[in-house]
């Protein structure tokens, strides 16, 4: 990864293409796992997106919360928690459970279901420790002024790295354990950190991604800062890039990915799904809430520089685009300025809602499927072209599209910007 700190705008200097023999390892994607509002499984996610099904639903009890305008949410259907042994489950919040089930699927799809390398590293991003557990604790403690009924594993769910540590314990992993907390950018940041560790030769294989459990705190916060949709219709509430958009719809889930060095994947004959080619991060210190075009551009340019690709070589963009008025506008302008108006751009949040720390990982998983199946998922609920998106190519219908390189964005409150370049992997390890 290269970080650009120059405030004068994106650098147009292209670095030399990566030399796999020159000290950096190629980083390959060999496994995918998902838990989303469609339910458990990458296939459920992919089929839902392909068919354009909306898994969003009315937010239970929303009308009883004074002043709350949010009416729609994307919740994961009930899962069988007992798939995880009690010893590990006791320290898992809902987001920990999501991550664990997604991780098992990722291992399975990588051909490592029964025997995964215990030396594997783990990078799992979350917005925060479990808000549900935090609420349970203070609901009891502040009312009763008594902690005698507080369960032994409570704090382990509240810790910022609670989901990551619970997953590492469950899988018995001994490699590096990272738990980046960067809200909506956390999942993509975790994948980028795993990519960097493998690229630099510090790890051979890593499990990485993001997880999020919905809590009313999130909906209230976005409502308070005028960034949440008040549309009560689950079918149309989330409308990225549409001129009628009125904010995001909160959701939840987890996306986990297996990354391996080329030599590691080759040595075990793994099937390769894609290649992570570049990663870029930047900070936007100008404002906590409002996205800054320059900061978004710096992250995308840094990812491009790291990949050695030119803007012309990017054939699709999976945008962060949450359906907020300002966020979509800033991202649209940044993409158009950097990549031009011909590259197809989509946002999957019209269907999935915004699963914050999980969103980058879930959307990257869908993007990898788009790359491997040569299909571009369109922008649903995009009916009215907005002036600020007019320079972008925003397909409204699914289309056959061979994508050899895709740029994925995730941007977070607090001015955290992450971009990642993923490539089609044509050559397969033998």
């Amino acid at each position: 990864m290269k970080e650009t700190r120059d405030d004068s705008g994106p650098s147009r200097t292209r670095p030399a293409p990566k030399d796999p023999g020159g000290g950096r390892n190629r980083v390959l994607v060999t496994g995918l796992g998902a838990v989303s509002p469609y339910g458990p499984g990458v296939e459920a996610l992919w089929q839902g997106l392909l068919e354009g099904r909306r898994p969003l639903s009315p937010l239970p009890g929303a009308e009883k919360i004074p002043g709350l305008g949010v009416r729609v949410v994307g919740l994961v259907p009930e899962l069988d928690a007992k798939l995880i042994p009690r010893t590990y489950r006791r320290a898992m919040s809902r987001m920990g459970l999501f991550a664990s089930l997604a991780a098992r699927e990722a291992l399975d799809s990588a051909g490592l279901a029964e025997d995964w390398p215990r030396a594997m590293g783990l990078a799992l991003g979350t917005t925060m420790g479990s808000p549900e557990t935090l609420t349970e604790f203070f609901s009891q403690y502040l009312v009763a002024k008594d902690f005698s009924g507080i369960r032994g594993a409570t704090f382990f769910k509240i810790m910022g790295h609670g989901a990551a540590s619970a997953l590492a314990q469950y899988l018995g992993l001994t490699g590096r354990l990272l738990a980046p907390s960067a809200a909506c950018a956390a999942g993509l940041q975790a994948i980028g950190l795993a990519y960097e560790a493998i690229s630099a030769g510090r790890e051979e294989i890593m499990l990485c991604g993001g997880t999020e459990e919905f809590d009313i705190l999130t909906a209230l916060t976005f409502d308070q800062i005028l960034a949440a949709s008040h549309n009560p219709d689950p079918q149309t509430a989330s409308r990225p890039f549409d001129s009628q958009r009125d904010g995001l719809v909160c959701s939840e889930g987890a996306g986990l990915i297996i990354l391996e060095s080329e030599s590691h994947a080759r040595s075990r004959g793994a099937a390769v799904l894609a290649e992570i080619a570049g990663f870029g991060l930047s900070s936007s210190p100008s404002n906590l809430v409002h996205p800054e075009i320059e900061g978004l551009t710096r992250a995308m340019q840094a990812a491009l520089d790291d990949s050695g690709l030119s803007p012309r070589e990017i054939q699709a963009v999976n945008a962060h685009a949450t359906a907020t008025v300002e966020g979509d506008r800033a991202e649209a302008l940044a993409i158009a300025a950097l990549l031009g108006g011909e590259v197809p751009v989509n946002s999957l949040k019209s269907l999935l809602g915004h699963s914050m720390a999980a969103s980058g990982a879930l959307e990257l998983i869908a993007s990898i499927r788009m790359i491997s199946q040569d299909i571009f998922i369109p922008n649903y609920n995009f009916n009215h072209l907005a002036d600020d998106s007019i320079k972008l190519r925003l397909p409204k219908f699914p289309q056959k599209l061979i994508i050899t390189a895709l740029l994925k964005n995730s941007f977070a409150l607090g001015g955290v910007n992450a971009s990642l370049v993923v490539k089609k992997c044509i050559d397969r390890p033998t």
Partner: protein, 90 residues
Amino acid sequence: MMDERIWGTVTRALAEEFELKPEQMVPEARIKEDLGLDSLDMVDMVIVLETAFDFKIQDKAALKEIQTLADVMEFILITIEQENGQAANA
């Protein structure tokens, strides 16, 4: 009969909470080695027993001495006795 009823309550509550099999619930079963419970589980054990018997365990330090299910039983009997004594003196 009283002890059997208490034993049944203890073992049912612990088996349900910690997902243990009925055949594991024997007096000589060691909490750590045989039942696989650790210090976090001991915190939950207190909650489960307090709920099952509707009392508050005051002497939590004494829990550190517990090694087997028989010890849990003895601890419960002592606690009940103390509770009854306090009730009689009230």
